[in-house]
């Protein structure tokens, strides 16, 4: 109770200093927020592309319907497969006409349909990795009536390479920014605590226990961190709106990320305070 009252009183007694500490924390976390926004949107973009990853299994023209049914059923039983759709020669031609209107004249003049019948294998989201795609293609190629299985190898390879680079970059930059943010938060709270060293000194002198002295500062640190986190959230939101309105469409980061950001702000704040106050507790 005392700790809560004192932590709140600190904001009232030195609004500039505590405000400044929160602002510094906010700016540090804002950079992380921007990185989060960029990462999330990159992730979204990649998964939209990834959704299109599917395998086309081309069948010989003389394949019997029973064989097609068997292959469709067997491929459908592979755990990573969501659905297997059969596309007849006629459907393939219609699709080609729809998707490639510039060649519609060419397709309508045909006497023989040159397009093969196929099985379109769609994968469960999250299972569209290169390894899975390759394994299923190999399984399909084992049927004697399968002519070819395609998934755009180069394209998938590139997509996954991009994903790996994205993850590595995010991790490296995220860690670097997190360290910088932690240092800034630590410094800001160290200054705030330094300004109150006299109070800590008096508390030690009159016989307050270390835990008693530390508690309001921990709470104050957590509160500064939380306020800073809120500020970072607002600034990131403003940036998001700005970019959305004037540059390009963006997706807003999910609430779990925001919650994690606020929680880490509070956590960093409390830890930084604990570290900063330790020195003063040893002095008298």
């Amino acid at each position: 109770m005392y700790a809560i009252r004192e932590a709140l009183a600190a904001f009232r007694r030195a609004p500039v200093l505590t405000g400044l500490a929160s602002a510094m924390v906010g700016l540090a976390l804002y950079v992380i927020g921007l990185l989060g926004l960029a990462t999330y949107n990159l992730q979204q973009a990649l998964s939209t592309i990834e959704d299109r990853v599917q395998i086309a299994v081309y069948l010989r023209d003389d394949t019997r319907q029973s064989e097609i049914d068997l292959a469709q059923a067997e491929l459908g039983e592979i755990p990573e497969v969501r659905a297997v759709r059969f596309i007849s020669k006629r459907e393939a031609l219609e699709l080609a006409r729809e998707e490639l209107p510039e060649f519609s004249a060419l397709f309508s003049d045909l006497e023989v349909n040159p397009l093969p019948q196929s099985l379109e294998v769609e994968l469960i989201p999250g299972e569209r990795s290169q390894e899975v795609v390759e394994r299923i293609s190999a399984a399909a190629l084992r049927y004697p009536f399968v002519e070819d299985a395609r998934y755009g190898r180069e394209w998938v390879d590139r997509l996954f390479a991009l994903r790996r680079i994205g993850a590595a970059t995010t991790f490296a930059m995220g860690s670097a920014f997190a360290v910088v943010a932690a240092l800034i938060i630590g410094t800001a709270l160290r200054i705030a605590i330094f300004a109150r060293r006299e109070e800590i000194y008096v508390m030690r002198l009159v016989g307050a226990t270390n835990g008693f002295i530390r508690r309001p500062f921990l709470l104050e640190g957590a509160l500064s961190g939380l306020l800073g986190g809120g500020l970072a959230w607002l600034m990131t939101w403003a940036t998001y709106r700005g970019v959305y309105a004037f540059l390009f469409q963006l997706a807003w980061i999910p609430p779990t990320w925001i919650f994690a950001g606020l929680a880490s702000g509070a956590f960093f704040g409390a830890i930084a305070s604990a570290l900063a106050i330790g020195r003063h507790l040893r002095q008298v």
Binding site: M203, L205, V206, R282
Partner: protein, 223 residues
């Protein structure tokens, strides 16, 4: 109450501040600790509430010894020893009453008792009408009275005062000294460091200890 046995204190940069000092402040005594600046008065005062530990020898304060008590447990001594400084060391931006209640609050006094007790303490030092004043609105003498009320808050066994009148004019000095004598008359030991020999002479009943260059050179009780 406070016992130094063969205590020496050496600082890494400043050399010896105390050399082989033994002294004993007993229950209910009023003791002046005198000497020139640099004689070791402040070091003795700091050792007496274990803000520092001796380089050699033993300091014993209200039953706790310097080589046994941990930094974490120092609060036990601090609640038995009141401390008054030359520069008051009050918390700025708070009222006289808040400065006193602060001590009661941080030492775990039940909430409903805090304000009445703080008010009683301020009454005891004659500051009832100034309870609501911010400390910077008070005169030096009044600030020192707040500091004394604060030092008495834990009902200590002994009151340590390091040059408590150093920043006060004559009238305020007399007021503060009368207060110390009154406190002492109620059974609390007082150990007061001062370089003001004129002041010491005014209170012939008090015991006088004199330090010179880190050594105890005079003890009126032994003379």
């Amino acid at each position: 109450m406070i016992k130094l046995t063969n205590v020496s204190k050496e600082y890494a940069k400043g050399g010896f501040a105390l050399r082989d000092v033994s002294l004993h402040v007993k229950k209910g005594e009023f003791v002046f600790l005198t000497g020139h600046s640099g004689s070791g008065k402040s070091t003795t005062m700091r050792l007496s509430h274990m803000a520092e530990r001796p380089t050699s020898g033993e300091v014993r304060v209200t039953g706790y010894t310097s080589d046994r008590i941990t930094q974490r447990a120092l609060w036990k001594i601090r609640r038995r020893v009141g401390f008054v400084f030359q520069d008051f060391r009050l918390l700025p931006g708070r009222t006289a009453l808040e400065n006193v209640s602060f001590v009661l609050e941080v030492t775990g006094t039940p909430r409903k008792d805090i304000v009445p007790r703080a008010q009683r303490l301020l009454t005891r030092v004659g500051l009832t009408p100034k309870a609501g004043s911010l400390v910077h609105e008070l005169s030096g003498g009044e600030q020192q009275r707040v500091a004394i009320a604060r030092a008495l808050a834990n009902s200590p066994y002994v009151l340590l005062a390091d040059e408590p009148t150093g920043n006060l004019d004559d009238r305020a000095t007399r007021g503060v000294m009368d207060l110390f004598w009154d406190i002492n008359a109620n059974g609390m030991a007082v150990l007061m460091a001062t370089h003001d020999l004129e002041l010491v002479r005014r209170y012939p009943k008090a015991r006088v200890l004199e330090l010179d260059n880190g050594r105890l050179v005079y003890d009126s009780a032994a003379a």
